[in-house]
C-alpha cells in the first residue's frame, strides 16, 4: 500500500441495512454488527454497494434464484448501478488504497463464492422448503460489477461473501470465514509490501 492510502471494504448493501433483505430474510434489525465490528477493528473504511434487487423488484419482492434474475433487463439495471458505484471504487484504487469486496453468499445477486440456483424455479411462491441448490459462482450483480471494473481497466477486487443466504444461517461460522479471508488477504498485502521495499 502507498503511504497515506487506506484499507477500504465495499460491502453488500444489506450488511449495513437488513431492511433491504427479501421478506423473511432479515437476521438483524439494521446493521449486521459482526461484519462491521470486524472491519472497523481491522481499520477498514466501510463503503456500501447499492442493492440491485430492492431498486428493481422492490422491498416486498419474493425470494428468487440466480436464473430468475439472469435476464437482459435486470443485467442492464445492474450495469447502471455498477456505473454509479464504480467511480468510488476506482478513486480508491487510483489512490493506492487496499480495496476489498464483501458480498453476500447464497444471494442470486450479491453472491461472491456461492449463489442460489434452480433453473426450474418459478410460478406461485408456495414452496415450504428452500429447495434450490447452492452453486459456486458469482451472483448476477457481482458479475456485472466486476465486468464494469474490468471495462475501466481495474483489477478484480479480493472478495468474499458473508454466508447469510446459504440456508441455515450460522453467524459464528460466517464470522470465522470472514476472519480467515481477512487474515489471508492482509498476509498477502504485507508480503507484497515487503517485496516492494
Amino acid at each position: 500500500m502507498a503511504e497515506g492510502s487506506r484499507k477500504v471494504a465495499f460491502v453488500a448493501n444489506c450488511l449495513l441495512n437488513q431492511n433491504a433483505k427479501v421478506c423473511q430474510g432479515a437476521h438483524y434489525p439494521g446493521v449486521v454488527t459482526p461484519v462491521v465490528q470486524e472491519l472497523r477493528a481491522r481499520g477498514y473504511a466501510v463503503n456500501q454497494l447499492p442493492c440491485p434487487e430492492l431498486a428493481f423488484a422492490g422491498v416486498r419482492r419474493w425470494w428468487a434464484v440466480y436464473e430468475q434474475y439472469d435476464t437482459p433487463v435486470y443485467r442492464a439495471h445492474c450495469r447502471r448501478l455498477a456505473q454509479a458505484i464504480a467511480p468510488s471504487i476506482e478513486a480508491c484504487l487510483r489512490r493506492g488504497d487496499d480495496v476489498i469486496l464483501i458480498g453476500l453468499d447464497g444471494s442470486p445477486s450479491t453472491g461472491v463464492r456461492f449463489t442460489s440456483s434452480r433453473p426450474d424455479w418459478g410460478g406461485r411462491p408456495d414452496r415450504t422448503e428452500d429447495d434450490w441448490a447452492i452453486e459456486p459462482r458469482r451472483g448476477v450483480w457481482i458479475e456485472e460489477l466486476e465486468a464494469e471494473l474490468e471495462r475501466r481497466g481495474l483489477p478484480r477486487l479480493p472478495a468474499t461473501g458473508w454466508a447469510m443466504d446459504m440456508g441455515r444461517y450460522d453467524e459464528e461460522g460466517s464470522r470465522r470465514d470472514l476472519e480467515e479471508f481477512l487474515d489471508a488477504h492482509e498476509a498477502r498485502v504485507a508480503t507484497a509490501a515487503d517485496g516492494a521495499s
Binding site: 439494521g30 454488527t33 448501478l81
Partner: protein
C-alpha cells in the same frame, strides 16, 4: 413478517460519520445507529469521487421504495460540512422529484461525545411512522 428481524427504520448517514477520520473523541454514530436498530444508507463522500449524481439518484430510488412501504427514514448530518455531509441540496431535489417527503434531520453538535450520542439516540428512538401506517405494512 414472521421470523424476520428487520427494524423498519433507516438512517441516511454521511461518509464522514460512517468512517470518521479520527475515531477518538467524537461520537460513535455507527454504534448508536446499530443500538437503536436502524439500518444505514451510506452517503458518499462530498469530495474525491467525482460527480456522485448517479449514485445519489440510486440512493433516492431506495429511499422512495422504503418510504412507500412503511419504513421510517431519517437523516443524520454533521456540522461544518457542505449540506451537512448529506448532499442535501441534490438529494432533496431527487426526493421531491419522487414525491417523497424529506426525512427529518438530526445534525450532530459539537458538545461532548457522550452528550451527542445521547441526543442522537433520543432522536432515533423517538422517530417512526404513524401507528396506523405501521399496522398497514408491518405484518
Amino acid at each position: 413478517m414472521s421470523g424476520d428481524a428487520r427494524g423498519w427504520r433507516i438512517a441516511l448517514v454521511p461518509d464522514v460519520l460512517v468512517n470518521p477520520p479520527d475515531r477518538v473523541g467524537g461520537p460513535d454514530v455507527m454504534r448508536v445507529v446499530e443500538q437503536e436498530g436502524y439500518g444505514v444508507l451510506h452517503l458518499p463522500p462530498t469530495a474525491g469521487i467525482g460527480d456522485p449524481g448517479l449514485l445519489l439518484a440510486v440512493i433516492a430510488d431506495q429511499v422512495a421504495e422504503y418510504a412507500h412501504h412503511g419504513y421510517a427514514v431519517v437523516a443524520i448530518g454533521v456540522p461544518h460540512e457542505v449540506d451537512h455531509g448529506l448532499h442535501w441540496t441534490r438529494l432533496s431535489a431527487l426526493l421531491r422529484h419522487r414525491r417523497i417527503p424529506l426525512p427529518p434531520r438530526h445534525v450532530i453538535g459539537t458538545e461532548d461525545a457522550a452528550v451527542e450520542e445521547q441526543r442522537l439516540a433520543a432522536f432515533l428512538a423517538g422517530h417512526d411512522i404513524p401507528e396506523e401506517e405501521q399496522r398497514r405494512w408491518r405484518v
